[in-house]
Amino acid sequence: MDQAIDQHPAVPRLKLHIPPHHPAPGETPDFSYVRRYAAGVTERPATDVPAHETHELAYHLIRVLDDDGAAVGAWDPKLDPETLRRGLRTMMLTRAYDDRMMRAQRQGKTSFYMKCTGEEAIGVAQAFALAPDDMAFPTYRQQGILIARGWPLQDMMCQVYSNAADRLKGRQLPVLYSARDASFFSLAGNLGNQFPQAVGWAMASAYKGDRRIAVSWIGEGSTAEPDFHHALTFASVYRAPVVLNIVNNQWAISSHQEVAGGEEATFAARAIGFGLACLRVDGNDFLAVYAATQWAATRARANHGATLIELFTYRAGPHSTSDDPNRYRPEDEWKLWPLGDPIERLSRHLVQLGEWSAERHAQLDSELADEVRDAAREAERHGTLDQGPHFSAKTMFDEVFKELPEHLRRQRQEMGV
């Protein structure tokens, strides 16, 4: 082309596309963009197939539980009723814990809280499918992992209360847990950081001839961060034994998944360009989440490399105690979410198997509420953020470095403690 284009009348003008914000509060929820797929239709490749044989699955949605609560298809992990009940219990306990802590924040006992309501299958089913010493690099919405790994609620609550028994010494924002003994990595406030760190941990595990794999989670909104790209690049280049999960709960605070690039492709498809295996899963289907995680873990453990899993779910609660979702989305969206509630769905499955009943469910609910209440009472004996007691100001200078350097010793003196 020889002439300048800018004044060329024949050429149409360019226009800027902005992803529409829909639906707005008051409007009717619109989930037409969610392709549901029937349960059981997606076939299950062997765990050692070349990655590209999984790429078509980026456009599927792996589902096991059908609408009647039956488990169907190749992805059914065939778990025994006992395990299923444990799974159900753990999800219910996670929800009860969230509700209690949310209330505690509303009561002013702490500054901040984040629930994972509607997403319980993700942390929980995955912890069930992994080895207890597989290293988790989670986000703030996988508290279910800790609970599934039997971590004491009271310990978690002490962190939320930043009280005198908080192992993190009141340093971290509530919910930014750390639990090395549960193979649960210190949570970062900085979105995405953990994703490539998990790849590095996995590379180290492989370098050492270990058997433990790393597993990480990231929100769909955070996939736009560099760390997401780094994780995929390094996982691909060094075939790291890692399972990389994208939790697509449709929202990033007030931004719909389209703002992160969900309009033009699925998030699972991000794997294709790196030659990584990928799976796209109904994140509210305990059995599907379990099966997909098991598939990816088996693959990684056998040195076939990383799998990117998109867990398709919905953030039922507010982003955190700091925002009011009714300002940016219809109030009843969650009720209309086409993939339902993970707890109801697993419960229905157990009932359908004759292994569970409405009565037992109701009873368990109140048992768990009591369990959480008791743990909270215990935790509060060690204090709350508003009332204290907290760690002494003196401790503020510890562990900035392994040993206290001279300039921090001087500053501590200056503080007069």
Binding site: I18, G170, A224, H390, F397, Q411
Partner: protein, 337 residues
């Protein structure tokens, strides 16, 4: 004149500029439909349209890169980084591109962008919602750095920043968004309404970059502060009954050195206070400059009262924050010294 909070004043500044200049666009995480997590862009998308105020993917570096490209085209993008603590992914584009573009192209290209980010603690945000990172950027040649302390300045300085043809990093002390804060968390928080700098004109006006303001005249000691610490210093001076001259720097770079030197030459003593960690904080540069320019008038060592060289701890926030008691103590040391 209407009384505005700092949030409203900042919102008004952007509203005015969107209306005046079609080249102004605003983007950032949650700034569009929702109006920002601190509501600073509330209503702007509705009023000015989706292509002028819109949500961005969660990628601070991407936002800055895109802003540099838009600036090279001829727009004046305003980027909101949700918290100053999250500006790190953007440092490469800010430092290597935005700050260097005019120089490396000898004036062929430049990036007249403004980066807004809430900074500072005092809201129990923990170590990743409380940081003051200004000193990283004041070390970078090619960037201007601004931190307002009240609604009137906030609007006037933000308009200046947007109209400025160089990249400006504009930090907003989040603890001042909805009211002045004197550093006493135990006392009931007061609204901006009764503060005289909350009277903000509806329309266009500027507060020039590079001019400090003497917010309290005094003869005993000079106090150099900006942002939240302006209010804390005022409280400290009152409470300690010290005849301190308090200077609100407003712009860290370019710095109003003349105002500083004049005052220190008068008082012979100087206290510098900021919330950021001490080592290599902006206070270090201020101390270096003051002793370079006022050495023979100084009667005591320059005192720095700052955040400790630790992350900002959640529960111990007020032990970390350099409150009135610590500033008053610094004033006394400067006087005794």
């Amino acid at each position: 004149m209407p009384a505005m909070t700092m949030v409203q004043a900042l919102n008004s500044a952007m509203d005015v500029m969107l209306a005046r200049d079609p080249d102004v666009v605003i983007f950032g995480e949650d700034v569009g439909f929702y109006g920002g997590v601190f509501r600073v862009t509330d209503g702007l998308q509705k009023k000015h349209g989706e292509t002028r105020v819109f949500d961005a993917p969660i990628a601070e570096g991407g936002m800055l890169a895109v802003a540099v490209g838009m600036g090279a085209y001829g727009l004046r993008p305003i980027v909101e980084v949700q918290f100053a603590d999250y500006i790190y992914p953007a440092t490469d584009q800010l430092i290597s591109a935005a700050a260097r573009l005019r120089y490396r192209s000898a004036g062929e290209f430049w990036a007249p962008l403004t980066v807004r980010a809430p900074c500072g603690g005092g809201i129990f945000g923990g170590q990743t919602h409380s940081q003051s990172v200004e000193a990283i950027f004041t070390h970078v040649c090619g960037l201007k750095t601004v931190i307002p302390s009240n609604p009137y300045d906030a609007k006037g300085l933000l308009i200046s920043a947007i109209e400025d043809d160089d990249p400006v990093v504009f930090f907003e002390p989040k603890r001042l968004y909805n009211g002045p804060f004197d550093g006493h968390p135990d006392r009931p928080s007061v609204p901006w309404t009764n503060h005289q700098r909350s009277e903000v004109p509806e329309g266009h006006y500027t507060v020039p970059l590079g001019q400090a303001a003497i917010v309290r005249e005094g003869a005993a000691v000079t106090v150099l502060v900006y942002g939240t610490m302006v209010h804390v210093a005022l409280a400290a001076a009152e409470e300690a009954r010290i005849d301190a001259e308090i200077i609100d720097l407003r712009t860290l770079l370019p710095l109003d050195l003349e105002a500083i030197v004049q005052s220190v030459k008068k008082t012979g003593r100087c206290v510098i206070a900021h919330e950021a960690t001490r080592t290599c904080g902006f206070g270090a540069e201020l101390a270096a400059l003051v002793q370079e320019h006022c050495f023979y008038r100084l009667e005591a060592p320059i005192v720095r009262v700052t955040g400790w060289d630790t992350p900002y701890p959640h529960a111990l926030e007020w032990a970390y924050f350099p409150g009135p008691a610590r500033v008053a103590d610094g004033l006394r040391r400067a006087l005794e010294g």
